[in-house]
């Protein structure tokens, strides 16, 4: 057991947790933030992507204890009163069907756009597809997801 303090979606949380607790488990089981989905539990599908200190991370591939002091943002923390432009774009462009992959897709996509903006690079359709390699969707065939990211990138 180790005591950790994290800032999750802007709020400080402190818990005693077993060292083997994965961040995904910590968010879902300990904080009941079930927007972060667990699809594969083996780092492949990307359903569990959250932001750790502003960078996209697979929460099933991170021990919560190793993140003591970190800032974590989950899908629940993205909207700020109004939906985030990425959430709006996914709605507008039908970037989801069952929605299982969507929290991870949105968190990964926000990270992609932020990163490209910060580095002054243009985000092409090809780059979006490449950058989303780590997020698997069983339903949509990706076209509308890519459209949504392109459209949100123009507004963010």
């Amino acid at each position: 057991m180790t005591n950790i303090t994290l800032t999750v979606n802007g709020k400080s949380v402190s818990r005693d947790i077993p060292d083997e607790t994965l961040l995904s488990e910590f968010l879902r089981e300990h904080l009941r933030l079930t927007g972060t989905h667990v699809g594969c539990d083996t780092s492949q599908c990307g359903a569990c992507v959250v932001h750790v200190d502003g960078k996209a991370a697979k929460s099933c591939t991170t021990l919560a204890v190793a993140l003591d002091g970190a800032q974590v943002t989950t899908i629940e923390g993205l909207a700020n009163g109004d939906l985030h432009p990425m959430q709006e774009a996914f709605t507008e462009h039908h970037g989801l069907q069952c929605g299982f992959c969507t929290p991870g897709m949105i968190m990964a996509s926000v990270d992609i756009v932020n990163r490209y903006k910060a580095e002054g690079r243009t985000l092409t359709e090809k780059a979006i597809r490449h950058e989303l390699e780590g997020n698997i969707c069983r339903c949509t065939g990706y076209h509308n997801i890519v459209k949504a990211v392109e459209s949100a990138a123009a507004k963010m």
């Binding site: 539990d41 992507v49 950058e131």
Partner: protein, 278 residues
């Protein structure tokens, strides 16, 4: 389970010396393995150790610290010798995997399908190991002792991967059942040094076509003096005793043999082209 996060190499080595530790770098092999059984009792996270991350050149040798990630490799300013390593870096899983996964972890995990192994074999990489007996350097070909087995004694840690500097340009090609996020059916690393358009020295290694990746020394010798136009013919005619693929869920042995030969010729030609990696 207890997680240890030392910030110095000395404290990491003394913790390791106590025994029962599983080393954790990026965790991209360790975490998926956690579901296979009881978690290891003690995990030693080496990612926070000062001085273990980064790529530097000193005394005719390149040093890739053990905590260096694949993304660090992609972003580093490196000569054409490393073009193959950069291409391999982009093929390891997806962006998130490259952000966490380390080059050294890929070697220590010693999967027969590890993309880093053939590329680094073609670069004549040495593995720097530190432990109770001090520091030693092991050629990568000896370090990989078998599938999922490496020449590490208890209490030892890999601290860096060392690559002799020299002429030549690298290339890497990987064949999978789909384009991205895929385990290799076969992959080839090549480093070619040319003189007046002909091969001066060829270094070629193949992975996923046997229990461990192998250097193809016969082909390397046969290629000396070859012009680009000779490569396909020489490779097609070569005896390749190092290839010993198996039938598995990903491909049959016959397919692997055929595909590997094609990849070998393509990778060699690619390593002879004008620089191609951005």
């Amino acid at each position: 389970m207890t997680l240890y996060r030392p910030d110095s190499l000395d404290s990491a080595l003394s913790l390791l010396g106590k025994g029962g530790m599983t080393v954790l770098a990026g965790g991209t092999d360790v975490y998926p393995g956690l579901r296979d059984g009881a978690p290891p009792a003690h995990l030693l996270d080496i990612s926070g150790i000062a001085g273990l991350r980064g790529i530097a050149r000193a005394g005719g040798q390149w040093r890739i610290g053990a905590a260096t990630t694949w993304t660090d490799v992609i972003r580093a300013d490196l000569p054409p010798l490393f073009d193959g390593l950069k291409l391999a870096a982009r093929e390891v899983g997806s962006v998130q995997i490259q952000n966490s996964g380390t080059v050294a972890g890929n070697l220590c995990n010693a999967s027969p399908a590890a993309d880093g192994v053939p590329v680094l074999m073609a670069l004549d990489a040495l593995v720097e190991v530190q432990g109770p007996g001090g520091s030693r350097q092991v050629p990568l070909t000896d370090f990989i002792a078998g599938p999922r087995a490496v020449a590490l004694d208890p209490g030892e840690l890999v601290t860096a991967v060392l690559i002799p500097d020299g002429p030549g340009q690298g290339a890497f090609l990987k064949l999978g059942a789909r384009r991205y996020l895929v385990i290799s059916i076969a992959m080839v690393g090549a480093v070619i040094a040319t003189r007046s358009g002909r091969i001066d020295r060829a270094r070629v290694a193949v992975g996923s076509c046997g229990p461990v990746a192998r250097r193809l020394t016969g082909v390397e010798t046969a290629l000396t003096g070859a012009a680009p136009g000779d490569v396909a013919r020489l490779v097609a005619a070569a005896d390749l005793p190092e290839l010993a693929p198996i039938d598995d869920v990903r491909a049959t042995a016959t397919y692997r043999n055929d595909a590997a030969r094609t990849l070998i010729a393509r990778a060699i030609l690619m390593a002879m082209e004008a620089p191609h990696v951005a």
